[in-house]
Amino acid sequence: MKPIIEVKNISKEYRRGAQKEQYLSLRDQVFKSFNPSRKKETFMALEDISFEVYPGDSLAIIGKNGAGKSTLLKILSRITPPTKGEIILRGRLASLLEVGTGFHPELTGRENVFLNGSILGLGRAEINRQFDAIVDFSGVGPFLDTPLKHYSSGMQLRLAFAVAAHLEPEILVIDEVLAVGDSAFQQKCIEKMTEVSKSGRTILFVSHNMQAVRNLCETGILLENGIMSQKGKIDDIISSYHNDLIKSESVTRLDNIESRKGKGHLIFQKILIPNQINKPGEKIKLGLQLKTIVPGLYQNLDFGVAIKDFLNNTLIHVSNKYISYEIDHQNDSDIYWFEIENDLKSGNYSLTLFIRASDEIEDWISDKIFIEIGEGNSYGYSNTDEIQGMIQPGFNFYLNYHGK
């Protein structure tokens, strides 16, 4: 049997800074040509990646932020071309990172189903055939003829996912979408996913959620700084990924994140997370480094850190303000540390970071940084699955005790 995906020696080179200075102007170009001494700096986002996927396989692509996962998916879905190498696809590929692409707020739900469907590669006849199933799955039936701009964001997402779920491609690429939506809908999505994988279709799955990865995939590849360091059985891949995370103190750059809010005069530069995976009960440590964009006096800093679960519930929200720690910004090389008691259940959590100076929000980053609480529980109980609570605080138990 021929593989459905053959990736042969794929490399992708980016020019450094090309991502950041998105707006080139003619003036820049003219100045550059007068200054030929400036060399083009490049870096390899992917280097010599080769693997094969056979029909019906589910392959997980795992790696830290910036390891090249998204670049690989972009090349596979032909959004950006590789610099070297070749990929052969023997089937239609659709990716769920496209959820809601092309949705137009002025058009009605019905119109958007057709538009989105056709952009994702469905023919008009095919959409007509699937239309009722899509509407049924989304649960937005009564609002079909309302412009999308009046939908809640949850409804928009459900409609978008419903279209994507009915694409029926031979190869399905899923990128972290499980992290959105309400829980009932999420359950629906997971069912759909499992149904897709059982129906013999090929799945490529990119996620930081190791539980979901393990449930959905049998094999995986591990990317490290653009290089494929391992491929094989999913359990082996996950454990080397974990070892890799544990041994390296993770420093993630924050100053190149695009979607952020705030004034932006003083922004987050880096976040240091000594333990990429915290044991349950082990304190969560986070180091934050700032970067002064507009020189000035930044006084009365207020660092906020929120830890959210995958349903977007804020479980923890801490700030130096709450414990009356007053501090002014001195130096960009300073690192501000949080040490947070951890009663969280094992799983993945996303961080929201914000910084205020003199009561003005300077920077705000959400859903870009993830932390993981490792498997097990702080009680030392053998059957972790039995413990239901999201929060697992320390507690005592007494006989005939009267609250004294």
Binding site: Y14, A18, Q19, Q22, Y23, L24, S25, L26, Q29, K74, I75, L76, S77, R78, I79, T80, P81, P82, T83, K84, G85, E86, I87, I88, L89, R90, G91, R92, L97, E98, T101, G102, H104, E106, L107, E111, F114, L115, S118, I119, L120, G121, G123, R124, P147
Partner: protein, 272 residues
């Protein structure tokens, strides 16, 4: 079905692929037309009103006040026949020129032949043309001209030439706009200048005593379609030399535009 993904290599028009994705032309055009007239009170009437009001204004100032000649055609009819094609060009060019940037969110996420986007932008302008054409027929009848056989074949020819004239520069600017946002500001300027160097509101015969200038104006790809559609109303021979220059220039722009677009499209997603 087997697809190969390789680094961009030799140039191809990708026609087979465009055909494969033909339904997307329909959907993008349909979306843009819908969105354009959504939440407007007058709706599609705007497609008619725009050139009509411009015609009235030009007729008052140029036709009546300044007595601009109009090759023996009543000035309002003369102006409208030029304006309805000019509008295809101007709104097609500006739609196409901005199309890659305004559809960046789609380009960054999904693959399809990119040429569909600027092409659909021009098809939207063609839709407006058909609305305006109804008014044109009305004007022709009002001024007691007959709908000749000549109009029947000159209309499609001049419309196709207009599409070519807008698509060449349109795709060129669309591609350059992705990289250099300067074109967003240049575009309205180019269109404004274009109106004056195209014989839309004045006849080229006005410049009869300066042959070098007329030749220069014929380099304008919009010269040919506008002269052709006006010729449908009069019994004059066409200056085929001038038409030829204009058509060749339009085709040249088309080749350059598509070539540059196809050559750079691979990197749109990284830059948009």
């Amino acid at each position: 079905m087997e697809q190969r993904i390789t680094p961009p290599s030799k140039f191809s028009l990708g026609f087979a692929e465009l055909w494969q994705y033909r339904e997307l032309f329909y959907f993008f055009t349909w979306r843009d037309i819908k969105v354009k007239y959504k939440q407007t009170f007058l709706g599609f009437a705007w497609a008619v009103l725009q050139p009509f009001i411009m015609m009235v204004i030009f007729s008052i100032f140029f036709g009546k006040a300044l007595n601009v000649p109009s090759d023996g055609i009543p000035y309002p009819l003369f102006a409208f026949s030029g304006l309805m094609l000019w509008n295809v060009f101007s709104s097609g060019l500006s739609g196409a020129g901005n199309s890659m940037v305004s559809n960046a969110n789609i380009i960054k996420k999904i693959y399809f032949p990119r040429l569909i986007i600027p092409m659909s932008a021009i098809l939207v302008a063609v839709f407006d043309f058909f609305m305006a054409f109804i008014v044109y027929i009305g004007l022709v009848l009002y001024y007691d001209y007959s709908l000749s056989i000549k109009l029947l074949y000159l209309l499609p020819i001049s419309l196709i030439l207009t599409i070519i004239a807008s698509f060449g520069p349109g795709s060129l600017i669309a591609a350059m706009n992705v990289k250099y946002r300067d074109f967003r500001y240049l575009l309205p300027f180019i269109i404004q200048v274009g109106l004056f160097v195209t014989p839309v509101i004045y006849p080229i015969s006005m410049l009869g005593d300066k042959p070098w200038l007329t030749k220069l104006l014929a380099v304008n790809p919009m010269y040919a379609p506008i002269s052709l559609i006006r010729n449908a109303l009069v019994d004059k021979p066409l200056d085929l030399n001038m038409i030829g220059i204009s058509v060749v220039s339009g085709l040249l722009f088309l080749v350059i535009g598509i070539y540059y677009f196809r050559k750079t499209e691979g990197y749109f997603a990284d830059l948009a």
